[in-house]
Symmetry: D3
Subunit: 302 residues, 6 copies
């Protein structure tokens, strides 16, 4: 089970330049083979299916902790896409002015037909995310190797998407993912080291460019976000600390575990897009709820 | 963001009759079009993408609360599959005795090749779950109608899978899902009622057979599990209560919201399957971790 | 069995502005999850597979009648696409002038490679239509709820595609579909009402914007096209009238059933595109057929 | 547009031996790459998209006529599947006796979960039919060659499915398809001959085994069903006769065109399967409709 | 088994105008349904699976010979794509200048995210090549008919892609494929002729436009490349000559078989794209290998 | 370009117990995500797309050499499947005895409908192989890590399929793949070592069970097949030897490169299956070819 928070791990700036095609490209980091849906679901299924965990619980705890974090990653990528798509078509409810006319030339028409200018579980080419992206052999060493490879592949994708987008909303988000995904790269490397004695962290960075080359990532590293692994749990998964410890391969600083999650920031309220009837087509009266809320003693504002 | 718990919403009995083909059929409730991956991801994306939520927050809060619960549902279906698959092939590390020989005749060969006798994000026919199953128009009424239909379709699938499996592990799990999924059916019906004034709950039950016909479901209803909606959050989503209230259409009892989650039960430790090298092939020495744990002051047992 | 007519339900104007990308967007209404292939095939399979129809034949007849109409809808969407694609590349048979050069930048390259500037059973993102889009639980209430939801979802897509395209060919076609698909929305709502007593039509319109906001739709409504359900059969499916009756929720006018089909309009003859060798590359001599026709007493002109 | 008839082209006997796995195999002839969905949709799209048809109308008319017939073929395959699946699980509405228990071992679990023991648009391996199966280059010669190949491939599949199933329902249906599909093979061969002068019919039969080797097919040939091409239209597509004429390659008898369709046989009423809530779960009262029917002067019996 | 050569069948000129969207379109000829992956894999599987080959070995040998050639075709299409993509984004390792910014508007974002500006096994719409494209009934006549159709369909695609691209790299490659694929068309036509006596070659050219209309193709024909079939084997497949002989239908020149392969041209060395870390991110020192090479007596230069 | 040989790398014994379901399971090693189609196509595309190869040619040569070998692997898996499927249904051309009746209960009905009891490019669940399985970032270190992981995953699949099948045909083939795939595991480990200095080979074996536990594999190791890397080229790829050298991690013996390929064994002639019209339905007269062969001076026997 999980508890959900109405908060994002970082504060996303509003876009300077909302861009439909940047948003379409960023979909890769959400629903691509190496996107956050993949990391989330790989570790989630590995956590459910982990056999003989009692004997090797620190590995189980590590995978669970990272699985917990990945949920916040699909969230933050979705919000970045949503912010970039906010206001990219003409606002209003009159269909005759063709408010969505420009969208026929955009890269992702489903952002306008299947969603209301919002994220979808697909990649930058419009391929839907699929369960085929989940690897879970049950063999611990092989699953860890997979996860290490998956995170390196994901890092390559993040680097390339960073090179495609200049807007601060996009770059802040990708910079954050580079740091936190980078931590996961190191975490699985350390796990393999603990299991086998081989100095896997020395393969890093992969690809070779350091996170320091990305100013937004660098800023997060100055906040030590490359060093602290959260358990993303109130009470469980503390044995992650038996793996996540020792020096970080980038700068030699000590790695450490933090129980729970970062405090985070309130999820942004996304603007309505009335030309898409989102959220509702016309004259819903929130007063109905206000009256009920008063009666039930529940806080409600609009 | 989420916090993850190492607990399941219910206690799953050990199977009387582990069965590879029952497990294969149950995959439908996990990775099928109407399985728990679909309910989880539909509401999760609807929560991320919800535009203009400030004006209609009770609906947003309801969707978020249910999204939170669905994670526990993919978890409990996975564990039921895993328990039913535990021990269905010959144990041991000698490959020459063909410990997996029977598996060539089983319905799902990937349970033995791609996973270590464990769940996969696919349905009973081996189709992978796909992001194509997510519907999110952004129009509130249409999304609620979709969710209502999705839950009714999911209920039909649960009823049919119940009719396929007799083992108590399977039936306890499905009975639980019938009650909680049944609550979600009612919740979306009530949401549509609040939004439109139409008595949508009177369409229920759909399909027409009552949950009372399922003994395991009935038992959970006696514990009032059809009445209480959890926020699945420490602090957020409380305005769900502006929708989830009033009489339950089945028995007229009052519906109410509970902050947070049920207490739950510890996740079962799944047996090793050494013929599949799961979790590890041979002589890993847990003492290594024991020593580290001692040094770091972390609890570790094996 | 069916009888096929060489006629379209409406007269499609020639495009003012042939547009490859408008045509690509309109593909959504043909091969998308909520396109006409989906409505056609859902009701077609529901009609073949309907168990116990004797007891509830009016529902069976309604589904059959609507299934019959949907064929004309895939037809009219296809022709709209074909007209919009006519002449968008350079005409001629000399390949060295690169007559298709512009197509590398268009949204749907398969319009030029896989077809001869013509429709394909795929959506606006190039996803092929799939049988996975067919829902047919066999439970009447659930299937009707599905169909109601499907038509509402289809209506949302039509509204959005309308907002993307300004050309009269496209808008006439979408306006027509809004009215006839709108009739199907109401028909399934009435069916649910008949089956359950719940006032499902009061949920309409969904999305909230009325068809009156679309001038081309309005024109068709003035011709009462939102009121008359055709059986699309010479002799069968007359019991549809036990469901399709009473006031229309939009304007309170009486709904009524018409046996057979609308008279329709001749299917347009589409221009050749010689650069695509369509229909034939060079010097076919139709006189061959003229001679045969004369001999066989069959009418043949060219 | 089409007109739909509540009739099948042949009378299907009730199965001697209902069989879930025969039904699963027959799915290939419905939703397989070479199944009737493919022939239907290939010719349907080719008819909509046919450019320059005025010049070569006999080919257009032929494709339209055959497209019309294929609808009856998806129908007759569906009904054969449905009859073979009727009664294969335990009847009744009590879920606790596990009426669907055997289905976990059957080849197609979706027949029980996704449909109510009825056909689905998928093949014998559970792959959904897809629009990717439609070929429509727009070049007449190439499209005719494709159609000729498609029908030959379809014939091979029919022959092999015939060899898998012994029940008279199945064999009658396949025997019929062998004859009618065989006619389509010849029709496209004759079309290529007319267009090019090459004696394509001499390539037949392909595969080499004659339809005479199949007793059920032979019986239909004795009724001349291999000789008469229907226009499957009330008024159109008569120029098919400019192609479909001359001797049949099998027996030298004269080929001829019949306007309209065969008279056919009433579609069978399929038994209810109450364990699947099909069509409805419990106590629907048809008297409601009887009263309405009386009032409206419509014939209604139950 | 195969032996691989580091040589291409032709010399590809450097592009005048590298073009991301031309490269995206050319993907159709690589990973499309009628692309070279399909011809390669169809004949490869037909060669492995050929039953009773002893009796009809010339057909087996012909299929094997052509299968061998097709490998060189996927190679030459890949290289053409790679050359067209070389240098289309800004070179350098600083990500902050957004070197890939333009790519968000290109047709194929995976060229920049999933590969390093290089080919992928997908078509021009981003659909991955799939094994579903392989046809292998095992019936010789039907498989030959398929292959004949496949090559004609492939030829149509090549003609259309030629009409899309003007760059000499692209046109040289397509011209070459037109000639060699054209030879394969004729080869399967001759095979059908040998098997059945029907003059299948008289159906050609299909589509009707001659290869002489393509100047680059014409040039290769002047080198007799439409006349000589290679066995693409050192010792085997010589009985191809029992089929590949007699006059060529285009110009009446004699067809003949050449043992082995053309000599070919060295595979071009593709430029690095450092912004994509391809091949490596920074300061790899090739001297390491130079020293080893010296020690081992192996030639190594850089 | 390639040269093809009519030889397999090993001699496959005839099956003791032909088995349709063993054959269906073995499909995983051919068309599965970790099957030989994947290894073949990954390295093939990496070889075509390798940028900056001049600087790091030993890595390029290694990938090319292994790509060359993988072709023989898809071949040997196909033949093993084909041999196991030979004779599993009743032989004869009379369809009325239902020679394929048993096949409706087998795991892979496409072996009988889509092929003539022969291999298909799909996995054990019937999923087609897809280009989505190809990874090629262009970054050398990441691609090598991928290849290392891919080969380890492939090895796990081979081990599990071995545990499913007891027949000597199957086990000989899998034993061979374990040794040669095992060599590829080590080769990519050594490549990573050369590039980074990290002792990646020390992670082996992965999964932990040694190849010595598989008697058939052990036999091939006694022939030193785990030590010798072939260039699979007449003249090229010799710099592989700069990577493939030094001690083998299993037994410390010296690794070495052999130019060209193993000599291999003639490809087996597969029996006809006349009930599937394979290769031809009836009375083809090979004398036709004999006469031609005589005239042309080509060796031809039957």
């Amino acid at each position: 089970m999980i508890l959900k928070m109405d908060r994002l791990p970082i504060e996303l700036p509003k876009p300077n330049n909302p861009s439909p095609n940047d948003a379409a490209a960023i979909q890769e980091l959400l629903g691509g083979k190496f996107g956050e849906m993949s990391t989330l679901m790989n570790y989630t299924y590995q956590s459910f299916n982990f056999r003989g965990r009692k004997k090797v619980r620190p590995f189980y705890d590590l995978i669970c902790s990272i699985a917990g974090e990945e949920y916040g990653h699909i969230e933050v990528v979705s919000y970045a896409i949503n912010l970039l798509l906010t206001g990219v078509t003409k606002r209003g409810i009159d269909p005759t002015i063709a408010p969505l006319a420009d969208a026929v030339d955009f890269r992702n028409t489903h952002h306008y037909i299947a969603s209301a200018q919002a994220s979808l579980p697909m990649d930058s080419m419009g391929h839907y995310w699929t369960g085929d992206n989940v690897f879970n052999s049950g063999n611990l060493k092989l699953d860890l190797l997979h996860n290490f490879f998956l995170e390196c592949g994901a890092r390559a994708n993040k680097m390339r998407v960073y090179e495609m987008v200049s807007d601060p909303t996009a770059r802040t988000m990708v910079g954050y993912l580079l740091v936190r995904g980078g931590l996961h790269v190191v975490a699985y490397a350390k796990a393999l080291e603990k299991l086998t004695g081989v100095a896997v962290t020395k393969l890093l960075p992969m690809p070779e460019l350091s996170n320091n080359a990305f100013p937004e990532a660098k800023k997060f590293m100055e906040q030590k976000l490359h060093l602290e692994l959260y358990t993303f749990s109130q009470e469980d998964y503390k044995q992650s600390a038996l793996i996540w410890n020792g020096p970080h391969p980038d700068d030699g600083q000590e790695c450490y575990v933090v129980d729970g999650s970062p405090k985070g920031f309130p999820a942004p309220d996304l603007d309505e897009e009335p030309q898409l009837n989102a959220p509702i087509g016309d004259d819903f009266d929130p007063q109905v709820f206000a009256d009920m809320a008063k009666k039930m003693g529940i806080k409600y504002e609009y």
